[in-house]
């Protein structure tokens, strides 16, 4: 059946002239798209370009304002029965259920007494196929798993047969919380899946991955498809240009000149230290204690019963729904909460200071909104992250702690934020920056590599290279 679908080559999904409005915003502006069996479509574009909306139209999450969505290969009326599966960027498992039970949620064919055994077998099989050697127990409750493991489970559920078969799997930033080895396993599985007649929509901000795995690349900008070619038709530079951002690759080396750093402002028993005006990176494989080290440092420094007036540290969350965004508040309030006590008069909020600070940071960091009093959830993910940066940088705290803050942020935003971080560091602020992307860590003045919750190496200057970091991350594991 798979084979026949491959041969007659009918598209799995076909979009014609699809338009989607959200209020006055044109999220999709006349998109035509066909995806055939065997294709791996790389979907790129900066935040707010319409990728998520396009994906949601394909998987039936939103219905288009105009245009049609059809599933010719299966003839099914809607996405779910056509074998379209989605793995979303924000983790969308039920944390209170076990791995196998989560499969049950999206597999209504599992019913009757004794449904658990086939559920366990199916998810185990799928995990084994995508991530050999994963070590995840099908009976484990999801909230006991690490973020990377949850992402792996979610991907495995996406590829699991679930009664029918997966024909088109949509992966939205699937590797953002996976380390390099696991991500490579995923890419290998995607290639295999496409060779056997499946199709994948692969969304990633890591262009290297897109080039690596995609057979065709679709570039979106402002709700339109601006380029749609096979992967051979693009160069890395050409792709970045098509997305509409200034060339980014010529990385002016900020470490070129020898900085004179101030005195040490952070020192932990673990050996983590930072000096005034320094950008300190934390690296290593995901989940090896970096986030915990930062959380401990931050909470130790700020969890005092007595108000100290001036905060010593601020925190930029990477998992923004869990420990960043205040979802019921406006953009303004979300950004200004860090300066309330600094600007308060007689314990009352200084509204003017609040408004001007928010306006300044909206401009400096480029938050895409017409009005900062809009609810923060009206922003796209990357822009919400910008609000969190604005919140941290608006305060006068001398130390900024960042826990993988660039997760799911587009290239252009990253460049803006890198520049701001550099400027702030030059003004004497200290940054502690955990990132899963080695390229980001290489921008730091000093890097601590973590392995199994301990610091396994401290790199400075010219030693900060991808090679050295990888070496320090793996070194002992091979012994």
């Amino acid at each position: 059946m798979q084979q026949s679908a491959f041969e007659n080559d009918a598209p799995i999904v076909a979009l014609t002239e699809v338009v989607k409005h959200f209020g006055a915003v044109r999220a999709l502006d006349g998109v035509d798209l066909e995806i055939r069996p065997g294709e791996c479509l790389g979907l790129v574009g900066h935040n707010g370009a319409g990728k998520s909306t396009l994906v949601n139209v394909v998987n039936g999450g939103v219905s288009p304002t105009a245009g049609t969505v059809a599933f010719p290969a299966s003839g099914a009326p809607e996405a779910l029965s056509a074998g379209v599966r989605s793995v979303f960027q924000e983790l969308s498992l039920c944390p209170n259920l076990t791995v196998a039970e989560n499969l049950r949620i999206s597999h209504s064919g599992l019913r009757g007494p004794g449904w658990r055994r086939p559920a366990r077998a199916e998810i185990r099989q799928s995990l084994d196929a995508v991530f050999p050697g994963h070590g995840i127990d099908a009976n484990a409750t999801v909230d006991t798993l690490s973020i990377a493991e949850r992402q792996m489970v979610e991907i495995a559920i996406g590829f699991a047969p679930r009664g029918t078969e997966a024909r088109l799997v949509i992966l939205d930033e699937p590797t953002s919380s996976l380390d390099a080895g696991i991500a490579e396993q995923l890419l290998r599985h995607i290639r295999h899946f496409c060779e056997s007649g499946g199709a994948v929509i692969f969304i990633s901000h890591m262009l290297g991955e897109v080039f690596d795995v995609a057979s065709r690349i679709l570039v979106m900008k402002d709700g339109k498809v601006v380029a749609d070619r096979t992967v051979g038709g693009f160069t890395r530079q050409g792709l970045v240009d098509a997305m509409g951002h200034v060339a980014t690759d010529e990385r002016q080396d900020p470490r070129g000149k020898a900085h004179a750093f101030g005195k040490e402002v952070v020192h932990t028993s673990q050996g983590l230290s930072a000096r005034r005006g320094e950008v300190v990176g934390l690296s290593g494989l995901a989940g090896h204690g970096q986030a915990r080290a930062l959380a401990r440092l931050y909470l130790d420094a700020t969890s005092s019963w007595r108000p100290t007036g001036k905060p010593r540290m601020v925190f930029v969350a990477g998992d923004r729904t869990r420990d960043g965004i205040l979802p019921l508040w406006s953009i303004l309030r979300n950004a200004s909460i860090s300066i309330l006590s600094e600007t308060a008069k007689w314990g009352l909020v200084d509204r003017d200071a609040e408004t001007s600070a928010a306006a300044e940071w909206k401009r400096r960091i480029g938050i895409r909104t017409e009005d900062v009093t809009n609810p923060v959830l009206s922003l796209s993910g990357g822009n919400q992250q910008k609000v969190l940066f604005a919140r941290a940088l608006a305060s006068a705290a001398p130390v900024v702690v960042m826990d993988d803050p660039m997760r799911g942020v587009d290239v252009g935003t990253k460049q803006d934020v890198y520049a701001i971080i550099r400027a702030e560091a030059a003004n004497g602020r200290t940054f502690l920056w955990y990132s899963t992307e080695t390229e980001e860590v290489c921008r730091c003045d000093r890097v601590f590599v973590f392995r199994n919750g301990e610091i396994s190496a401290e790199l400075t200057g010219a030693d900060i290279t991808e090679e050295r970091i990888l070496e320090a991350s793996f070194e002992m594991q091979e012994a």
Binding site: L93, C94, N96
Partner: protein, 311 residues
């Protein structure tokens, strides 16, 4: 140890109940008999059913502040209509369950806070109860009385009933597929909706189940007390919430345990008896009950925290 406890959340409720039971038997050895145990846990049966009803709501991240008045209303209907004209009585009770299910659908569809809606509904139930039975009275249907005073061999009715309730709700909520999906609504409603489930209908189902168990609670209560009054079960609202929490449930996140909830209800019922045995003046009993509750919850918090730092 911490991790073991977190994987087997049921152990702490079992431990609390055992300690309390041991203390009670130590103070009043005569309670250690078929008859004594039945007396100790008799009133726990309706509380256990009410706790399970509350658990259904907390499972989908809501809370029901109307449960006490709802159980009172059911008790009044049972002692009057169900006794006098059974068919009409059954129809009224069925309508009440449907109303509960409708309440769940409305709360979801209009995105209302359950705490406000149920608080408002509690006045409706309370008013209806007074309307049905303006002054204490009525009488229990004979079959219900017979059911609640049955003397099974080996274990007393109260214990057998508790085990049965725990077993049925465990199968329904933890083992069955639909129960898993219902817990999924509490864990992450969006992902359930994305998988193609009608969340409004699922919420209505959870509320309907809550109504069903609320009806059982009111009926068994009348079976035990033989008469009803409009205020008979007001304290069930808070007792049931406490029971769910004592049993290892959480306010949000769909983390509930039916077996734990029943054990929690038994613990609460036993705490009252224990305090009487201590000859504590009734004025202090509610406070002391609160103290026991705080003690157990503190223990749970400490274990949870230790697990977070070690695990």
């Amino acid at each position: 140890m911490g991790q073991f406890l977190s994987r087997h959340r049921i152990l702490l409720p079992i431990f609390s109940l055992s300690v309390l039971l041991a203390a009670t038997f130590y103070m009043q050895p005569r309670a250690m008999s078929y008859f004594g145990i039945n007396l100790l846990f008799n009133l726990a049966v309706p509380i256990a059913l009410a706790t399970v009803a509350q658990m259904m709501i907390m499972m989908v991240n809501d809370i029901d502040l109307s449960l006490g008045t709802f159980v009172s209303l059911v008790a009044c209907v049972t002692a009057t209509f169900l006794n006098d004209s059974p068919l009409l009585g059954v129809l009224i009770l069925a309508a009440l369950i449907l109303t509960y299910a409708g309440m769940g659908a409305v709360i979801h569809a209009l995105d209302l806070p359950a705490i406000v809606v149920t608080l408002g509904m509690s006045f409706v139930w309370g008013g209806l109860a007074l309307f049905v039975l303006p002054s204490p009275g009525g009488s229990s249907p004979d079959w219900l009385r017979a059911l609640m005073t049955v003397k099974p061999p080996l274990v007393p009715m109260a214990v057998a009933a508790s085990v049965l309730i725990a077993l049925v709700t465990h199968l329904l909520i933890i083992r069955s597929g639909i129960g898993t999906v219902l817990r999924g609504v509490g864990g992450n409603a969006r992902s359930v909706a994305r998988a193609g489930w009608p969340v409004a209908r699922l919420k209505a189902l959870a509320y309907g189940l809550s109504g069903l168990f609320g009806v059982f609670a009111g009926m068994t209560l009348v079976g035990l007390t033989t008469s009803a009054d409009a205020n008979i079960a007001l304290r069930y609202t808070l007792l049931s919430i406490a029971g769910v929490i004592l049993g290892g449930g959480e306010f949000i996140g769909g983390k509930v345990s039916p077996v734990g909830a029943v054990i929690g209800a038994l613990t609460l019922a036993l705490a009252a008896s224990f305090l009487s045995f201590m000859r504590l003046s009734p004025d202090w009993q509610i406070g002391a009950q609160g103290a026991i509750l705080i003690l157990v919850l503190t223990a749970r918090l400490i274990f949870a925290r230790r697990e977070n730092t070690t695990g």
